[in-house]
Amino acid sequence: MRVVVDLTRCQGYGQCVFAAPEVFTMHGQEALLYDPDPSDEQRERVLRAKAACPVQAIYVDRLAAHVGGGRSQAYPGAGDGDGFKRSGRVVIVGASLAGLRAAMVLRREGFAGSLTLIGDETHEPYDRPPLSKQVLVGQVPLENTLLPRLADLDAEWLLGQRATGLDVTGKRVHLADGRQIGFDRLLIATGVRARPWPNEAEAALDGVCVLRTIEDATRLRQRLATGAGRVLVIGAGFAGSEVASVCRELDRPVTVAERGPSPLAGALGKVIGAIAGEMQREHGVDLRCGTTVTALEGDAEGRLRAARLSDGSTLEVETAVVALGAVRNVDWLEGAGLAAGVWGVGCDAGCRVFDINGLVTDDIFAAGDIARFPHPVYEYQFLALEHWGNAVAQAEIAAHNMVSDQTRRWAHLSLPVFWSSQFGVNIKSVGVPTFADEVMITQGSVAERRFVAVYGYRGRVTAAVTFDQAMWLEFYQRLIERAAPFPPDFDMVGRPAVMEPVPAEVPQRIGVAQGATVVVTGHDPGERRATLVRPQ
């Protein structure tokens, strides 16, 4: 049986652990880890856990589908005057979380036409978050991360097939083997891939790993399970920090080299990042901030042996995990005339993709890690989120809009929610923590690693981050949605002795689109065009 827990909703009540302790475990006070593919003997207990979960976050043999906001929602049928819903052709490129979720919603909304999923991985769709957590530590076998099989999907699966091009006017997707797949409506859900180590020869050394796919995880798990030497983690974002946490849990010595001032600084800013840094050091991580890796060195057999760091030191390592963020899978869209580039695929809040001139297309949609969309709460700035919950929510919006006429379309307005578990602490965030100038601890205790931090931008609340305090997140979500004033000035339970906002020290937000330049040509309004200047 296959189990998915919507950890964006989970509040750590632990009722599932009581019911099925062999499937669900609590890591520290609140970080829930689970086996996504428990044996059938566990069925009765898992169903009991599902029934008992106070926020109904557990899905059995189904993909997470909770409709946010707690209100049961009716799904009005689309206007099928054009017959598209009955006999149209939908193609989804990228057969992972967002693609699968969209496929499911399309069918739920009554789409009866042909549905094709194209994915370049050979596996059935699987879930990635466990790869850096329960799978990497060896608690759950790798093959257990497959997402629920959707028996009634009635779709054609083209797995192990790479899309290499898109013909927007001819409405065709080109595959690597030369085939062309026609569509009436297309969903782009090709996500991201791990950013490789920039030096190709060094990257090819045996022992230099990344972590995005099931193959990456297999390789890294193998090295962590067998070796004993020091592991080098390059980059202390969420992925790097989780890998470091797993290394410590396995009692492996680990060095983390981070260019920035602290771990997680890119996502949470320097102030909260510094707390994550203290956590790492408490757990025996050799954390070096403001430090880069200048070279990776191999032996004659091409095996990684050492790493040189910008602080002048040389580390003896056989395993290095490159965790330098992601590259968006837009290569196949080159020349398609869409607003696709290093920043992702630009789309409107209804997931309709922009063409290169910024005009919205009507038959091409995007969702998940690949999408970049404007969020009204954040001054209509374009956000690209690499969050599990965003992929699920946005795919639903995209799928709904694909089968709905103009008047019934939905906007993707849900606030971003993210979680991570590391060093026995469940870190969650709501909103956009980098959209901030100040941050303040409003509840709990930093020393105990149980607290809520609230972020503000120009006097209003824009984000909140909790460390083992997930039950309060909803409250802060509502503050953000209501543009509540920052700093919050009311009395609260668990207020720390000192409540003072400090500068958030978040990175420049503009950074995301670095290197992407557009030139505008033409004079008459009818011939003005924007053209992308690609970085070399």
């Binding site: 302790p21 475990t25 890591h27 029934a51 008992a52 707690g70 049961s72 909803e474 609260m492 668990g494």
Partner: protein, 409 residues
């Protein structure tokens, strides 16, 4: 005021058998101002919001600032238990108690009581043999959770007549109509129960066994150990909460099944239905109808009303669980309901500590009653109810049956 009278009507004993139609009326004013500046909240979204709102305190106003309430009749006063505390104390005490009850340290503890619970249930039903009428409350739904919580805590079952009165004094203060006299009785009962538990704790310190009390007196975790006073308050809370509520779930459950013979039949044929059925029961006929425990720490704007700082707040959990804005066809008892996000155990940081135990007990209790009683039927419908509108349940539940199926053993 016409508006306030609706809640007074709900509290009136005459409406105990069916408060639900009045809840529908009450929900028309999601946030209702009641007497003495108190507020009554009855809609689902608003209650969920307030359960997760850090501007709400569970500390009894008279405990604010001061330490433990002053001694009564020479007995040492005890600090409030964690149900009446706020973070960080609440979280620390709850965590310390959880060490011996559930995850992360003791994830198998409750499931480990399975055999014991089955045995107690079996013995209680065996005792029905030979007759053809039984009071489900006195002969089954009350003795079961009392015996279980006594074993779990390490309190001698024979002492039940002693703590029965103390427990009643606790529960009485949950009635929104309770006055100062009830509060005084509770303080006195708390002290007496504390003195009683203190002796037991001393004994466990000398000779620990595998019960929860032993765990609490001897255990140390990362958060240290509980002070003796906190330990006594915690044990008292568990003892009381451990049976005054579960009794109602079992009794309400049997009553509901007998009113829905089709579901009862199905449960006989499909024993696995019991888990979703219990969750639906917690929504449809919950033991805890209201939580009168909270106070606003700041002005709170909700559903177009401002609850002012300092106001006392009563959450009508049972009204929220019948909110048609949340649950389609809410007055229908439907164990197949996909969506089981009920508030029967509350929510947020005070979410019921004992929920897994209550579920386990009720699972075996109802399954076995249904399996073993031949042709059970209600003698009186509605049954006589307890006074308390907050912990609502039948005082007696008389059932007739043709016979009892022998237990396999």
């Amino acid at each position: 005021m016409a508006e306030t009278s609706i809640f007074d009507q709900i509290l009136d004993y005459s409406h105990r058998p069916d408060p639900y139609s009045l809840y529908a009326e009450l929900r028309k004013t999601p946030v209702l101002r009641w007497k003495d500046g108190g507020y009554v909240v009855s809609t689902y979204r608003e209650i969920v919001a307030l359960l997760h709102d850090p501007r709400i305190s569970s500390i009894r106003p008279e405990d604010v600032g001061g330490g433990p309430p002053s001694a009564e009749e020479g007995l040492p006063g005890l600090p409030p238990a964690f149900i009446r505390r706020d973070p960080p104390d609440h979280d620390r005490l709850r965590r310390l108690a959880m060490r011996h009850f559930g995850p992360p340290h003791s994830p198998g503890r409750v499931e480990g009581m399975r055999d014991e619970v089955t045995e107690i249930v079996t013995d209680l039903i065996d005792a029905f043999e030979g007759g053809n009428q039984v009071d489900i409350v006195d002969e089954f739904a009350y003795p079961l959770p009392v015996t279980v919580i006594c074993r779990l805590l390490g309190v001698p079952r024979e002492d039940e007549p002693r703590f029965r009165g103390w427990a009643a004094a606790f529960v009485e203060t949950l009635d929104p109509r309770a006055g100062e006299a009830a509060e005084r009785r509770r303080t006195a009962a708390h002290a007496e129960l504390g003195a009683y538990l203190n002796e037991l704790a001393d004994a466990r310190l000398r000779q620990p066994s595998d019960d929860l009390l032993s765990g609490l007196v001897t255990g140390d975790g990362a958060d240290g150990r509980m002070s003796r006073e906190d330990l006594l308050s915690t044990a008292a809370l568990l003892l009381v909460a451990g049976h005054e509520t579960t009794v109602n779930l079992i009794a309400n459950g049997m009553l509901t099944l007998l009113r829905h013979p089709d579901v009862l039949d199905r449960l006989r044929r499909e024993p696995d239905l019991i888990d979703p059925l219990i969750e639906e029961l917690l929504r449809y006929e919950p033991p805890v109808h209201m939580s009168p425990l909270r106070t606003a720490l700041a002005d709170i704007e909700i559903a177009g009303t401002t609850i002012p700082k300092g106001a006392h707040i009563t959450l009508i959990l049972a009204a929220a669980d019948r909110d048609p804005d949340r649950f389609p066809d809410p007055d229908r008892f439907d164990p197949d309901r996909e969506d089981k996000e009920h508030l029967g155990f509350g929510g947020g940081i005070h979410y019921c500590f004992g929920a897994p135990l209550a579920r386990l007990e009720t699972r075996f209790a109802l399954s076995e009653l249904v399996r073993r009683l031949e042709n059970p039927r209600l003698v009186t419908d509605p049954p006589p109810y307890r006074q308390n509108p907050a912990l609502r349940g039948p005082r007696h539940l008389l059932i007739e049956f043709d016979g009892v199926v022998r237990s396999p053993a």
